[in-house]
């Protein structure tokens, strides 16, 4: 049974509070990404050709595979939650492990993409190399595209890494049978967070990879 913290009257109140807290936290998170996405969209509108030219150099294949992987990881989280709601601790362990695996593969693929972009000289800064195919495209604006690309995806990846850390703790605890059909708030809250990170990617993928192709 879950431990009742001193500040609460009963366990139901405590669980409802942590769930509500996570929703409120996600509202804040939305504004974090919102500010960045606003900046990106404004420059995308201001420099459509340069941003489209930059976007062409992203690895669409890896990005698409990653999208599929991340969506699947959201599915495994949802299945894990369903399993523990039905009291199936063993299934929860499997689904959490699958989530961590999928999330790690996503980060691995993302890392590979970063490496390829680094090799091609697309990392903004001193090492940025871009020879413009047409005079209408300013390399500075392409660099700006890549800057936003790296900021957005790395902030997203940071959220993924935090999520993976949380799921690792949950995995260990669920191996020790900490969760039950009555007590699984932690799984639900972590799941909410993970779905949010997933939804952010659903915005990032078309904005960065698909638009202008």
């Amino acid at each position: 049974m879950a431990q009742l913290e001193m500040s609460f009257e009963n366990i139901e109140q405590q669980q409802a509070t942590s769930r509500f807290g996570m929703w409120v936290f996600l509202a804040t998170e939305m504004l974090f990404f919102g500010a960045l996405l606003l900046g990106y969209c404004i420059y995308r509108i201001e420099y459509p050709n340069a941003f489209a030219a930059g976007s062409e150099h992203l690895n669409l294949k890896l990005g698409t595979i990653n999208t599929a992987i991340l969506l699947s990881s959201s599915l495994t989280v949802a299945l894990g939650l369903r399993a523990i709601q039905l009291g199936r601790t063993r299934s929860l362990v499997y689904f959490l492990a699958a989530t961590i695996l999928l999330g790690s593969v996503f980060l691995g693929v993302k890392g590979t993409e970063y490496f390829l972009e680094y090799k091609d000289g697309f990392v903004p800064g001193a090492s940025f190399v871009y020879s413009s195919p047409s005079p209408g495209i300013d390399p500075h604006h392409v660099e700006m595209f890549f800057l936003f690309y790296f900021i957005l995806t790395s902030v997203h990846a940071l959220h993924m890494a935090i999520g993976l850390g949380v799921f690792s703790v949950l995995l260990v605890r669920s191996c020790r049978h900490r969760y039950s059909a009555q007590d699984h708030e932690a799984i639900e809250c972590a799941g909410l967070y993970w779905h949010f990170v997933d939804i952010v990617w659903i915005f990032l993928y078309p904005l960065l990879y698909l638009m202008g192709r």
Partner: protein, 549 residues
């Protein structure tokens, strides 16, 4: 108001024997305490410190401005002084002052809860705040920052050779503390209310803190990201905001003011909540227009998010955008005025007693009204263009932030001091300081309205000779104001040891916090209170209690 045991006889004879203050005396028991009341005291100590640091910078540049050519410092140092004053006062005093000190202390007590929803997070937010504050003190005292508190680009990101990164990092870090505090308030108020304490029975201070929490949650992340982008541009020298590199400086201003205008409401909404509590108590009346005051807090919080463009009338934003922002800025005056009218209506035929908290509350109502009305002048684009970047603007926002927020904060501290410490302070000294602060404040800032209207620009280290009289008046006022602020610091500390013991309810006031012992015990309530009536039921207090305030 609620089913609570009366004060035990033993407590009356021997004083409270067990409370949150004597629960532990070690440093560890304070620094690792998750008790919301102890966290509030930690914040109180911290913001007092930051207040005097920010105040010291103001003292220095007010001395400097005594003569037209400047008296004290080099122009570069002058820039660093007003930047330090702005940064420290805004981010490390005004924003955390009422929410993190009074809010932390009172929210659980007022709603009949044992603690905040997330007590560990609450303590963590203090540590994050202190980390940010340390960075900021380091940045402003050692080397200094010269961008002004607004960090306008591209000066901040490409040109300034001062500690911009460190200062921005300080604000960045403190932002997370603000977000976590806001989250804790919103969740606590939603989920932790005592049985029977419905939304429309809540004290209006709680409504104000709730609205404040929402602004903290939704505004702060945007500032945080804007400053992160400034940092990235400064390090990588790749255009984000610098027009020479294809960036857009207006984008920075939009992101900055999207937070920093609502931040004004983070400062003043809690003050309005405090004033509401005080006015009802010292008029011995139920508050006039409870529902209007409650909903106007939410209206200010939501409309307040849509007015940021009035800081940018001359920046080159679209004229039509400016017109919309101007209209919306006029609109936000309506809920603010609703509050002022309701306080005034509460005063009408109330048995008003001019105790210290009430003096601050009345001061707030007058000064906030002046700040608000000059705000309307600034919301009109034609007038704004005339006085943009002048002392008129400086005077206007000080009437809101100091005349409003700080008066409310001090009123609140004086109102709840007996509850927080269990001691009464000297009424004579506190009345004197309230009067000194009111006089000093007006003498400091009223001349600045005139100066600004005559065309004296802000942030200049020197000025033409014809402005000297008004500047000297302002500096003289500042010295009175400074003295007025030092007084409470002294007599409140004095009261900790020598003040007479306060009972449970010295004023006496309604509200759950006054049903606990003073100072409250660690768990706040022995038995969870059950609320069966509205807030401010002063009309139901017994005859004997009515005249004693």
């Amino acid at each position: 108001m609620s089913t609570l045991a009366p004060a035990p006889e033993a407590e009356k004879r021997h004083g409270p024997n067990r409370n949150y203050l004597n629960a532990g005396y070690t440093v560890r028991s304070w620094l690792l305490s998750t008790d919301h009341k102890r966290v509030a005291i930690l914040y109180l100590v911290a913001v007092t410190l930051f207040f005097f640091v920010g105040g010291a910078a103001a003292v220095l540049f007010r001395i400097h401005l005594l003569t037209p050519g400047g008296l004290l410092v080099q122009p570069e140092t002058y820039n660093k002084l007003f930047t330090a004053h702005g940064l420290v006062m805004v981010f490390f005093f005004l924003i955390p002052s009422i929410p993190a000190v009074l809010g932390n202390f009172l929210v659980p007590l007022m709603i009949g809860a044992k603690d905040m929803a997330f007590p560990r997070l609450n303590l963590a937010s203090w540590y994050i705040f202190m980390a940010g504050g340390t960075l900021m003190i380091f940045a402003t005292v050692f080397g200094g920052v010269d961008t002004g508190w607004t960090f306008y680009t591209p000066y901040s990101s490409m040109f300034s050779n001062s500690n911009v990164m460190l200062a921005a990092l300080g604000v960045f870090v403190a932002g997370f503390s603000s977000i976590l505090t806001g989250l804790n308030f919103v969740v606590t108020i939603h989920k932790m209310r005592a049985p029977g304490l419905t939304w429309f029975r809540l004290p209006l201070f709680i409504w104000a803190i709730y609205a404040t929490g929402i602004i903290m949650l939704l505004g702060t992340p945007v500032l945080t990201m804007a400053l992160a982008l400034v940092g990235i541009e400064r390090i990588l020298r790749i255009g984000i905001f610098d027009p020479a590199l294809g960036g857009d400086p207006l984008l920075f201003q939009h992101l900055f003011w999207f937070y920093s205008h609502p931040a004004v409401y983070i400062m003043v909404l809690p003050s309005m909540g405090v004033v509401t509590e005080i006015v009802a108590c010292f008029c011995r009346k139920r508050i006039f227009g409870y529902g209007f005051i409650a909903v106007s807090s939410l209206a200010i919080a939501s409309v307040g998010f849509l007015v940021w463009g009035h800081h940018m009338f001359v920046s080159g934003q679209s004229m039509y955008g400016g017109m919309v922002f101007s209209f919306l800025s006029f609109l936000v005056a309506i809920p603010s005025a609703i509050k002022v009218f309701n306080w005034t209506a509460t005063l009408h035929r109330g048995s008003v007693s001019l105790r210290t908290p009430m003096l601050y509350a009345l001061g707030f109502i007058g000064l906030f009204t002046m700040g608000g009305c000059t705000g309307l002048m600034l919301a009109a684009m034609g007038v704004d263009i005339h006085v943009t970047g002048t002392y008129f603007v400086v005077a206007h926002f000080h009437y809101i932030m100091v005349g409003g927020a700080v008066m409310g904060y001090l009123g609140g501290i004086h109102f709840w001091w007996p509850k927080m410490t269990g001691r009464l302070y000297s009424e004579r000294w506190s009345v004197l300081s309230a009067i000194l602060i009111f006089i000093g404040f007006n003498l400091t800032f009223f001349p600045q309205f005139v100066l600004g209207y005559l065309g004296m620009p802000r942030r200049y280290y020197a000025y033409p000779e014809q402005f000297q009289v008004l500047n000297v008046l302002s500096s003289a006022g500042a010295s009175i104001l400074g003295g007025g602020y030092l007084l409470p610091f002294s007599y409140l500390l004095w009261s900790l040891k020598y003040g007479p013991r306060a009972g449970r309810n010295p004023w006496p006031a309604t509200g759950l916090e006054w049903k606990t012992q003073s100072p409250p015990e660690t768990e706040n309530f022995v038995v969870t209170p059950v609320v069966d009536e509205e807030a401010y039921a002063y009309h139901l207090l017994k005859e004997s209690e009515l005249g004693t305030a």
